[in-house]
Structure formats: structure tokens, C-alpha cells
Subunit: 446 residues, 2 copies
């Protein structure tokens, strides 16, 4: 039975880095050598046998210590709070964190500080779901629409989505939710895979992995493009030959292009039938995405993994700049802001295909997509969650993929907890892996 | 004679905080109690009797340590570089800093990491101007247009401004530049003052300071609004009565409103003839600003101090969302990005009235506005630099205001260097002021 007097006693932070740059997994036109990293946060409580709350911001290596420092700067808002009150209303903490006027200046609502807010807020949702004994998607799907509207951050959105309209969307989403939850548990949620398409892979590896993806049941793969057009033509041709005409081929430029260049390059790849072009230019360029979308149709435009906050998503939708909303679980201010982004997408009738990969982004984002299916959008049509097959073993409750679909998680929480042995090994620079790697003697004893 | 072999030997960082919250100077509808702070950086060299390079990011208190950590994370790009090469081409370092793919993830190009880039890049420009023996505005005004175009960051802007067009604007700006430089040195650049209008001031203080501003020669003042409409009506009435009909009255909501609320509130204050409404809503809401501007004309719309980067400014101009571009010297990636923003404003024919105040923002931004006047826009019409009369004494080369105008700085550099005694006193938490203030014994000896 939960202790109603329990308090948060500590906000512990960890700088976790995985040496992924050594394998070129994750390489794209803008990010040649990422070391996938997590600025990891654990909320400790004084509840006997009580759960901790886990969350993280995802980074790609250098600067993860800055991200950790930002999470640390938020700690005073959390320590000492009532666990029961926090879990009953995560939005109260969310508003305190985003409303801290001095810290707000460092964004506002963008970049390092905002990702830190997301890490802490998501840790609270993890804690709340553990205490409720439910996976987060189910906690959200079971929640009262009135409560969800209060949790969603609708500030600066009311010209596109009023609280009253959000409530209508959530009430509509409840129709048939029980049946969809049962189907989700039985058959999972569609996935697509980026694993074949990293820019650092040669054509043989790309072809082999693309064939394996289709054999594994995926109906969409994604290729990184944007470094060299001749290479991209060759790689898209190889990928299309490997997967055949019936499987979707998405392409991803990772912000590489100017607006006109994005149009030219995408058109040059059109013969291979790309399903969408992802991040064609600066993630801040709403009007640029709108111009690209008008010019490259019927190729769809997808973006969102680097959209700083809900106000950017609002405008992408208002401007008709996107066909696919790629929300990210760890870039914006956590579940409270992502509820608003899901509501915006529902209001505009645009499908959400979340960004994942990295460290633990698959683990987090599946909960948001599954809530959206069960209790908001009500469909998986034109929807799929990105899947990348690395670093899952470091999580206590890793994602499970069967026949190209995410199995619905059933363990309580937000699937955000890292294995203690992974924390011990990959903490930077003092964990056992990095201490040996950084040791000038090469780890040899003197 | 400069040492052509000199290198950068250190990137020293300082967490400087001034206890401004104790006086309510700087209070507005979103920022009730700022402690104006600087994440201050000094580039050291091994040049005998050589100058250091000074720069900073401005914050308002808590989190300044995160900003310092971000500057520290950039240091490895700078240490060991040739001082002569760095000063001959600051853009090369700018591209290395913004192109560090791992650090870029933390923005991209926004928030804490991007402000850190700005601090370091501005320190390089300070160093370059000191070595050239010129104030920065003059170094820029004397530079070849071809070189300036290469320094300006035009990435993601070419749908609005090509390098060729930027070159034309800079060449056009040179016509008559010598005469304008002479006039600038003789008569300075127009200023407006925010000092009377802080939200924490009572009506008597507001009225007294507004009258003093007019007596001091200012032709525009600014009032903070947005917390309470009845208060704002009373305060605007008092301010208009104090300054008379011929002085401009700007109002500033500091992002307080939803789009529809901004329209209603601004219209409710229209009888007092506001010149512009500043930051009516989220600084990320380009389309929102455009809607507000259409609805509140002839009141102008001004924004920019929290615009994350040049891509946001591009869209504000493309969307017809602003009448006044309020660039900030320390929010974006330094001089290289601000050159692009000045060029965009010139291309769209929109005046630049820089944001200032805080710590040292007046000192920095005067150089950009004066370059714009002398060698780009070519006019001071509809242009004024914000002025706030606090914290200047902490700078070695503080701004000088005469008859409501900024006197052109003549000392070499970017006016960014703090007095050593101010650094010693206000370094947080170890400086003499904070050590005594934070001492639980109240500074009494045991």
C-alpha cells in the first residue's frame, strides 16, 4: 500500500555514454560519429519498498555533462515533494519547472534546459505508472479526459487548440478504447526500421540488412541520405531492389539541405518511390518545410525529432508543413508537452510516427504511440514507430519486436530504467568501460 | 607588432551573478526577480603584452552554472589555435563550434549550447578588434564586403537571401559610409530607455523616471505590461501623461499572452498610442506574431531577444510578422550569426532596434547597430538601441549616453571586458559578495 507521507529524497544524475561511434551505427549526413548517451536521472523516495522514478535526456556524446548539469539545476524543485501529490498531478511539477523564470531564460522551452525538464518530468511519470502498477500507455489510456486535459500543456496553443476542443478529442478517443487496448496487447503496434540505412554502411551491408528487415516482417525501412547525391541514387536503387515495390522506403536527410536543395535532391530520388523525406532542412524552418512539401508531393514530408517544443509543432501543422509528425519522447518537456503535441496532431488529422533509436527512445516513445492509438487517434493507419536494434539490452524492460511490430509493454512504468550493471560500466568517465578506455596505460597494471 | 605564432592558451570561464532581484530592477510579467548574470569567458594567449578576448552569455540567475559548463564544453575547439588565424577568420571557428555534431544535438542552434557558442565567438571578435586597434563597429564597417559575406552565417537562409544578394547589400552599404562614421562619432546613435517601466515600480516612481527620461533627451520609453490589464491601463495613462504626446511609448509583454489575448490586450491599450508591442507571445510563434501584427496595426510588433537563431528571424521576416527586429548580441551564435540577421533585416527593409539591458548587452549591441548604420542599412531612421541604466560600472569600457544617444565607442574591442574587481566580488558562489551573503554566520567571524 503506498505511503501517503512519502517524499522525494534525492534526484540522482548519471552521465552514461556508449561508444557507438566505433561501429558507425547511427551515422548520418550530419552526425558522422555519435556516441549515444543518456543524461540519466533517478528520483529516490523514502517509501519503504517503493519504486524509484527513472528518466533521461538523450544526447550523442560530448556535452552530455552539460545536460546532466541542467538536470541537476532542476533538482531543488523536486526534492522534498510529496510522492503521492507528484504522481497525482505531474503537471504541477511540469509548470513549476517550465515556469522557473530564471531557468526559463536559458531556453525558453528549448535546448539543454528544456530537455532536462523532459527528463525529470518523464521520471515522475515513470514513478506514477510504477505506483499505479501499469505501463504508462495504459495509465494514460485509463485516465479521465478531464484530468488529461489538465496535464497537457496547452499554453500558446489556444489559437489552434482550446482546452474544450482537447477535451472533445479525448472523449471521442475513449469510444472503443477497450477493444483497441485488447488488440494492442494481442498484436502490437507497427514498427519501421532504420537499422539497414546508416550512411556509414556499404552497399552490401545495406542490401543484406534491408532483405533481413523485410524477412523480419517490417513493411517500411529508412535510409539516411544527403551527403552525396550519386551515392544516394545508388543506395536508394539498391535498397528498392532489395525490398521490392511493396515495402515503404523512407529517406532522411538529417537537416542537411537548403530549401531549394531539398526540393532538387528529393525530386532526384523520386524514381525510387520514397515514402517520406525526413528533416530536409533546419528543424526550425516551418515555412521552409511548407515550401518543400508543396514542391515534392506526393513524397511526404516528416519532421519533429528536433522540433524544440509544442509551439513549433503547432505551426508545422498550421502551415501545412508536415504529413507526418515525428514526436520525440526526450526532446520536449516530457509527457505533459507530448500530450499537447498528440492532441494537436489529432486536431489536424496528421499521423504521428514517433522518432526513436538512440538510447532508450524506443522504450519511451512506444508508450506515447500506444496511448495515441488506444485513446486518442484510435487507429494505426499510416502510423509506425521507428525501430533501431541497438542498446536495448541496457534496459531492464527493453522493447520487444515481433514480426515488425512493437509488443505492448506490460510491466509497470515508462520502461526507462537502465540496468545497474550498464550504469556501472558506461558512466563517463569513471565507469569500468571508460576508466579502462581512457587509461593512458591501456588498462595494463603498472 | 602582433606575434604571428601566438596561440590561444586557455579558455577561462567565470560564473558572475549580480543580486539585482533585491531592487526589482528588471522585473516584468514573466521575470519577477532576475539576478542578472554573465557566463563570462576570457580567451588567454601566449602573446607578450597581447590582448585577451572577452565574451559572455547573459542569464538571469539560476542555471548560470549550466551556461558556464556549456562554454567549457567548447574550449577544446579553441585552445591551441593560432591567434592570427582566428582573428583573420572568426567564421572558421564559428563553423567548427556550430558544426560539432555531438554538441549540435544539444540545440541544434538554440538554447544553452548556442548561447555558449555566441559567448566564445564574440570573445574572438573582441580579441580581433583589440588586435586591430579598433572598436568592433569600425572593424566591421572597414571590412571588405567579400570578407563580411564569408563571415556571415547564411546557412538555411538562401531561400530568402543568397550570398550574392548579401554582397550587393554590403557593397551598397559602403556608399557614404565614411560620412556616416564621422556623423556617428560626432552625434552618436539614438537610444530609448526601459528604466522607467519595470513592473515592480509604483506609479510615482514610473512617472518620475518617465519625466526624467524625457528631460534627459530620450524620445522613446518602454513600459512592461501583461500582468494585469487594469494596472496596465493605469500605468500607460500615467506614462503618457508624463511624457506627453510627442515621445514614443513602447510596451513589452515579455511573452505573457496567447495570440487572441495579445490582440485584445494591445487593443485595450491602443488609446495611449503605443508605438510597438514587444514579445506579445511565445518567441517561437512566428505565425502567431504574424496574426497579432495583422490585428493590432498601426501598433507595430517587435520581437527578437529570445529568437533562437537566424532561421527564426528569416521566417519572422518572410511571414510579415515583425515591424521591428530586436536582435540580441548574446542569444544567438555571436557576430557571425548577427551579421546574417542584419543582412536579412536589410533585405526585407525592416529596421533593427536591438535588445539590450541585462549585463553588458548595451555594451555589446551598440557595435552591431552602429555597423548597421555606417555600412549596411545606412540610416538611423526608425532605429534606436534599448538602454537600461544599470550594471555599466562593472565594465572597463562602459557605454556612454549623451542626450538620449549612445556615444560611439572608440576603444579597441567589443566593450565586453568586466572589471577585475567586479569579477572578484560577484563570482558565484566564491566571490567576496556572495561568500559573505551565503555565509550562514552572516559574515560574522566565529
Amino acid at each position: 500500500m503506498p505511503d501517503t507521507d512519502a517524499r522525494i529524497t534525492a534526484v540522482d544524475t548519471y552521465d552514461i555514454r556508449f561508444p557507438t561511434s566505433r561501429e558507425l551505427a547511427g551515422s548520418d549526413a550530419m552526425n558522422p560519429d555519435p556516441d549515444y548517451s543518456a543524461a540519466y536521472v533517478v528520483l529516490r523516495t523514502d517509501e519503504a519498498q517503493g519504486a524509484d522514478g527513472h528518466g533521461f535526456a538523450f544526447t550523442i556524446g560530448r556535452g552530455n555533462e552539460v545536460q546532466v548539469a541542467a538536470i541537476h539545476a532542476l533538482g531543488h524543485h523536486v526534492v522534498g515533494r510529496s510522492v503521492a501529490a507528484l504522481c497525482a498531478d505531474p503537471g504541477a511539477l511540469y509548470r513549476d519547472l517550465t515556469g522557473d523564470s530564471q531557468l526559463r531564460w536559458l531556453g525558453p522551452e528549448k535546448g539543454v534546459l528544456h530537455m532536462a525538464v523532459g527528463a525529470v518530468v518523464n521520471a515522475v511519470w515513470d514513478l506514477a505508472a510504477r505506483r499505479a502498477g501499469k505501463p504508462l500507455w495504459k495509465l494514460l489510456a485509463d485516465a479521465e479526459p478531464e484530468w488529461l486535459v489538465r496535464q497537457a500543456d496547452l499554453r500558446y496553443l489556444t489559437d489552434a487548440l482550446t482546452p474544450q476542443r482537447a477535451l472533445e478529442l479525448l472523449r471521442r478517443g475513449r469510444d472503443g478504447a477497450d477493444g483497441r487496448a485488447a488488440r494492442l496487447l494481442a498484436t502490437g503496434f507497427p514498427a519501421y526500421t532504420t537499422s539497414p540505412g546508416w550512411l556509414g554502411y556499404d552497399d552490401d551491408k545495406l542490401t543484406r540488412l534491408a532483405r533481413e528487415a523485410v524477412a523480419d516482417g517490417f513493411t517500411q525501412i529508412k535510409l539516411k541520405v544527403g551527403a552525396d547525391l550519386a551515392d544516394d541514387i545508388r543506395r536508394c536503387r539498391a535498397a528498392r531492389a532489395a525490398i521490392g515495390p511493396g515495402v515503404k522506403l523512407a529517406i532522411d536527410a538529417n537537416q542537411r539541405w537548403e530549401v531549394a536543395e531539398a526540393v532538387r535532391w528529393t525530386r532526384a530520388l523520386a524514381e525510387f518511390g520514397p515514402y517520406w523525406i525526413e528533416e530536409p532542412t533546419s528543424p526550425d524552418d516551418i515555412l521552409g518545410h511548407a515550401a518543400i512539401r508543396r514542391a515534392v508531393a506526393p513524397v511526404k514530408v516528416a519532421t519533429g525529432e528536433h522540433a524544440a517544443n509544442r509551439v513549433v509543432f503547432k505551426q508545422l501543422l498550421q502551415a501545412g508543413a508536415v504529413d507526418v509528425v515525428q514526436l520525440d519522447a526526450a526532446r520536449v518537456g516530457g509527457v505533459n508537452e507530448n500530450l499537447a503535441i498528440l492532441l494537436l496532431a489529432a486536431e489536424f488529422g496528421v499521423p504521428v510516427c514517433p522518432h526513436a533509436g538512440g538510447v532508450g527512445l524506443c522504450e519511451l516513445v512506444q508508450h506515447l504511440a500506444m496511448f495515441d492509438y488506444v485513446a486518442l487517434a484510435g487507429t494505426t493507419e499510416d502510423r509506425a514507430i521507428e525501430y533501431v536494434d541497438h542498446l536495448h539490452d541496457h534496459f531492464l524492460d527493453p522493447v520487444v519486436i515481433r514480426a515488425g511490430r512493437y509488443a505492448a509493454p506490460t510491466a509497470p512504468g515508462f520502461s526507462a530504467a537502465l540496468r545497474p550493471e550498464s550504469v556501472a560500466r558506461y558512466t563517463y568517465p569513471g565507469g569500468t568501460f571508460w576508466a579502462a578506455d581512457l587509461d593512458p596505460t591501456g588498462g595494463r597494471t603498472a
